[in-house]
Every structure is written in structure tokens, then in C-alpha cells.
Symmetry: C2
Subunit: 377 residues, 2 copies
């Protein structure tokens, strides 16, 4: 028997927890001190369903750090090396937060409500404490809080159709990484075209506990013919799509460059950011690479080797049923990589060679042809 | 089947994880992004064993926030309203950390290595981010890190005997909440008389991954005749003992006074602390109280009532096999309490009346006589 997760008031439930349980959740993680469902049927069944239909995800654990007040914009810009000076109302930004050494603190989606009102929709670290510490220390006129907002993601190719049945045709006019406010049962809720998959979809920023339950039920009632189902961030899908997880694939000791997030660092911008100066000169020591093995393997441990050298370690891995390949992210020491095209891992059937590739995976170049449907559905 | 905990590289394992698994851990929690074992045999069996023998606990999740540099003492004092000016080398302090409004950020054990070197052995929130944010904002000359230190607690009445077999008789000379450095296999490790139970014991601050495994094995080998076993913070024991859990029983929105931690706030001290001024004037709105019911109950929900008013909510609860009573902590609105001596809760067998009492529980005054041994062992 695999160990269960013991849930206390310290591991917070969400407005959707009773629904998630009723749907037969099989495994959780804890994320920002909150329950995050991770498996419903099986990783593989959840994966195929996500890619073909539409799923409702309880991602309440993407907590909102809310910053308000005259110095809001200043504080948000201090925290990230990404230039936000041209941000428009309702726009969403994927942005690394970095400390004064260039190390990453988190990788939230930033949402601009107004110059004096931003949300940071965060990954798994207590960004509120960082933002509040900075605001207090620098004496900024900015209030940092973590209000109860419970994002509900609707992901998959049928997501737009499903949401338009609830919020109307206006839904389709929301561009990628833009948000709009919709009226749900008399309450205004933000809806953004975003989400932690590459299957398309939206995130609804639920701000009323009771309405949240109603909305969940309505999504399932109106989506029956679309084969709507419960879902969650899916390990297989996110690795195939090259989506990184903060705390696993990247962390306090890595810079955005070491995570392949170069395009989210505005090196030449004339902005006041804590980390930018250091990021202009700090040398990368490691690199997050992709690893591909063309068959199923059982790893003995997470180390990766070139010759007899341990050159790094796998941070996330999965079997891809679509490409019939073992896919992984690995953090490696840059000095060992150079022109290396292969490395090897230790498996229960001995040493196995693996291709090294950039992220996100380019399956065509890798010569991997994906199948369109899972046999398990 | 209860949902399992899915473990990824984001949910960190510890140097003891393989041992914990081999001992048959049944349930985990996640604490500071790390595995925290919570049940081995059953809550009740673990409880009686802890009270009678000695247990080895993997509490690696009590991460150490290390502060070094000339402004160390200044930064640590800024963070807590407890006067640390008389702190001696090796001394440990239970101390609330509070923000500028008096709200709690964490409740660590502070350990003074020297004026320029402190550890904060933290509860479940990313204190490193708070400390680093303050240090950066205030421009303090203090380096804030979270080194890999993995506390191993040895708790229970036979703990001293067991540790003296490994570290020698010197162990018994460590006073409560004091620490000393011991040599283990050529490596210096800090040992403190402390731990999250009231059964007596020590915490060993393991600083070497491999030695950690060796130490675990040696504790089990040398403690066989003491009936040493695997253990963990035990819900029953900690509620009976009145030990609070940050994030559940107390949090960002509560002051130390609202958690009964009055004696850890040095109201009259002449110290530079972020929160002290606010704490001198801020009025308490809530109070954490004890609740006792003299029989087993199954709660429908966590609300507590006086008359028809919801006056608060249970934050932790347990069945006490020793006192044959249902014990709980509840956070209540102060204005509703006044001279109330009873409240009621909703259970599967209807409304049930409960005594209100101060914390920690005073079982003698409550007229509860504890039994000395569990029938289950």
C-alpha cells in the first residue's frame, strides 16, 4: 500500500475538494500549503482524456499574491527581470521572480488589473513573504496580501466550447494570455486564456466559495456531451510540452538562463529590477536539458552520466505513450555538456544510452511520430 | 482507498526517507516542501509507544534558515517581538516571528551559534524569503540561506539513555533548550534538548547525508532493548500537550496573543522589533481555546456554536485514549466567549455540548484521570 496523504487544517482544502473526492481522486500533492489533485483514473488515461476532450482542474493552490497601492508597479518590477513597462490592463505575463543574485524565487503568471493593482498567480513558494519583506524593507507604499481566490482551470480542446456555454460567445474573443471579467450569478470573475497545459483552455479566478461549487457542477452538467471530466496538471502532458515545475526543475539556486527562460529576461531594458544587473554578468553553471530514450526504462536513481562522470540529475521524467519514449528533464553541469549528444542512465536492466536535446522537445527533429489516440480510452 | 501522496522532486525526500519507508510509514504530510512522516502503526499505537519508550523521528522538514554576517543579530531581533538581547551561545528560543502588523509569519526555534550566526529551525512557511526580503530591503549586511541540515529527533522517556549510548554521558548535561556540539564519526553535529513532544528528548542537527543514514541505523541497533521504534510528531500527544501547529492553529492573521503565546512577547523590552509597537496596542479579536467532550464524537464539520451563533472553528482535534475524551483546539471570536463555559458542536449523532478550557489542557482541574498504559501495545 502506498502511503496516504494525511490532511490537516495546515494542508488546506479548497471549495472544490468535496467534488474532487466525489470524482475519485487517487493522488494528491501539496502545493502552497494546499491540496493539489494529481491523478484521477491513471496518469495515462488522464493524459489522453485531456488531449481529446475537456477537463476541469482544481488549481486553487495557484494562490494569488495581491499587491495594491501607489508603489505596486514599482514592487512588481523590482521582483522580476522581465520588462513590464508596456503591460496593458488584463494582460498576463509568465515571469521569473529573482532575488538580487539572479536566483529564482518563483515563476508566477503576473496579471495587471491596473497600475495600482496586480496579482501574482504563484507556483510553490511563499511569494507573499518575499514581496512583503521587500515592501517593508524598502518602505514601499504597497499592500501585499494573499486573498482567497481559487483558480479553476478548464483545459483541453473542448474548453472553449464548454466555457462559451456558461459565459457566452465573448469567451472566444479572449486572446492568449489576456483576461476579461465575466459576470457569474451576479458576481464578477476574471477569466484568462491560460493554464498549465498546451492543450488550450482557460483559468477562472473564482472569488466566491459557494459559487465555486455551483460553477464546478454547471461545467459538468453542460459539458456532458463534450465528455468533460475531472483532471489536473498531468505529468506526461507537461513534460511533453516542456512545462517546468518550480521547486523541482528550477529553484532558488538556478537563474532563468539556467532554466531556458532567456526570453523572459529583458537584459537591455532600462528598468529597476533587483536581479537584472547580476543577471547581465552571472555565468551559467548548469543547464536544464531534455533526455530521450526510445524504450521503457526503470531508473535505479536520478543521476545522469557521460563516461564515468556524474554530470547531472533528472528532475522530472515520464513514459510518453504518444511517442513511445522515455522523456526527462535533467539539470546538468554546463562544463560537462559541450558538444555531447548522448549520456547514459542506470536502470534495472543496466546502463542505457539517452539522447540529449534542447527544451521544449522537438519531436519531429527527434524523428518521433506521435500516435493520435490512446488505446486506453 | 485513501488518496496517496504523489512524490516528485518538488516534494523533497530526506536522507532518512529510505529508512522511513522500510519501517512501513503509512501516511505523510508535506512540510516546507519536504516529506514529513505522520503515521507508522496507527496514531494510537504510535502515541503509546512514544509515551513509554523512545522513537526516532525524521523531522528534516524543520528546515534551518541560516543567518550570518555583522547584521545577523539585528535581523533576527527585527523579526521577533521576543527579547533576544540576553541570548547565550548554544541557547534555543521558541519565538513567534511577526510582521509589522503583529501577524505571525512562523514560530521557529531560534538557535544562537554566535552573534554573527543564528539558525531559525522553522515551521511550515518559507521564512527564508521573508528574512531575505527584509535583509535586502533594509540593506542589512546579513546573508540568509537555507543549508541542507536534516534534524533527527529522538523523543520519549528512554531518549536520554539511547543518546548517551551514542554520544556518551555528556548528553545528560545538556539542559532543556540548550545545545552542544558532539563529534559523530569525525563530524561535528549540534544536539539540543528539544523536540515537538512533551515526552522529553533531543534533536540532532544532522549535517551529512551519509552519516545521517548511519546514525539512524545505529540508533536502532543500540536501542533494541529500549524498544526503540520509528515515530513522528503525534497528533494525540501534541494536542494533549497543547503544542500548536503553524498554518493550522495559528497563521498570518493571528497575533501571538491570539495564540496564547503571551510569554514570548517582550512587551516592555527596549528592542528594535518590527512588530512590537503594533503588538502593544493591537486588540485581540480571536482566541485559541481548548475544547473537551467526555466521549467519542464524529464531527459533521469544524464549526463551534454558542446558542445559534457560530463563534469559531476547530483547528485541530483528536480522540485521547489516555483521558477517554475528545480534545480540540478552536479559534473563536473573543466577543462571543466572555464567561461562556460551554459551547456545542454538530456531530453525526446531533448537537453535543463541550467544555471550554484554557490551553494547555489542565486535566486534573478538568477532573480527567489518565490511564498509564495503552491496551493496544
Amino acid at each position: 500500500m502506498r502511503p496516504e496523504l494525511l490532511i490537516s487544517s495546515r494542508t488546506r482544502s479548497t471549495p472544490f475538494s468535496s467534488r474532487v473526492e466525489a470524482c475519485g481522486v487517487k493522488a494528491y500533492s501539496v502545493y502552497n500549503h494546499m491540496l493539489l489533485p494529481l491523478i484521477f483514473r491513471s496518469l495515462e488515461e488522464d493524459y489522453w482524456h485531456l488531449c481529446e476532450y475537456v477537463q476541469v482542474w482544481d488549481v486553487s493552490c495557484q494562490r494569488q499574491v495581491e499587491i495594491t497601492g501607489p508603489d505596486t508597479q514599482k514592487l512588481v518590477q523590482l521582483m522580476t527581470p522581465r520588462d513590464l513597462s508596456q503591460a496593458e490592463l488584463g494582460q498576463c505575463f509568465y515571469a521569473p521572480l529573482c532575488d538580487e543574485t539572479g536566483g529564482m524565487i518563483n515563476d508566477p503568471i503576473l496579471i495587471k488589473h491596473s497600475n495600482n493593482h496586480w496579482w501574482l498567480s504563484i507556483a510553490d513558494s511563499d511569494v507573499m513573504l518575499w514581496a512583503k519583506g521587500l515592501a517593508t524593507g524598502f518602505g514601499l507604499d504597497a499592500l501585499v496580501t494573499e486573498p482567497d481566490i481559487w483558480p479553476l482551470a478548464v483545459q483541453g480542446p473542448k474548453a472553449e466550447e464548454l466555457l462559451s456555454r456558461i459565459f457566452g460567445k465573448e469567451i472566444s474573443r479572449i486572446l492568449f494570455f489576456r483576461s476579461r471579467t465575466f459576470n457569474y450569478q451576479g458576481t464578477k470573475m476574471l477569466v484568462a486564456r491560460s493554464g498549465w497545459s498546451k492543450q488550450g483552455g482557460f483559468e477562472i479566478y473564482v472569488n466566491d466559495e459557494e459559487l465555486g461549487g455551483q460553477l464546478w457542477d454547471e461545467l459538468f452538467a453542460k459539458g456532458e456531451d463534450l465528455n468533460v471530466g475531472p483532471g489536473c496538471p498531468n505529468l506526461i502532458e507537461r513534460i511533453e510540452s516542456g512545462l517546468l515545475s518550480f521547486g523541482g526543475d528550477m529553484g532558488y539556486d538556478t537563474t532563468p538562463f539556467e532554466c531556458g527562460l532567456d526570453k523572459y529576461v529583458s537584459l537591455d531594458a532600462d528598468i529597476e529590477s533587483l536581479s537584472l544587473e547580476e543577471l547581465r554578468t552571472r555565468k551559467s553553471k548548469t543547464k536544464l536539458i531534455g533526455i530521450v530514450i526510445d524504450r521503457k526504462v526503470n531508473l535505479i536513481d536520478k543521476r545522469v552520466f557521460i563516461g564515468s562522470n556524474v554530470v547531472g540529475k533528472i528532475t522530472s521524467d515520464t513514459w510518453s505513450p504518444r511517442y513511445s519514449a522515455f522523456l526527462a528533464f535533467a539539470r546538468c553541469e554546463l562544463k560537462h555538456l559541450e558538444d555531447a549528444q548522448n549520456l547514459h542512465v542506470k536502470t534495472t536492466s543496466g546502463e542505457v544510452s539517452a539522447w540529449i536535446t534542447d527544451l521544449p522537445f522537438d519531436f519531429e527533429t527527434l524523428g518521433l511520430t506521435g500516435i493520435e489516440e490512446g488505446r486506453s480510452i
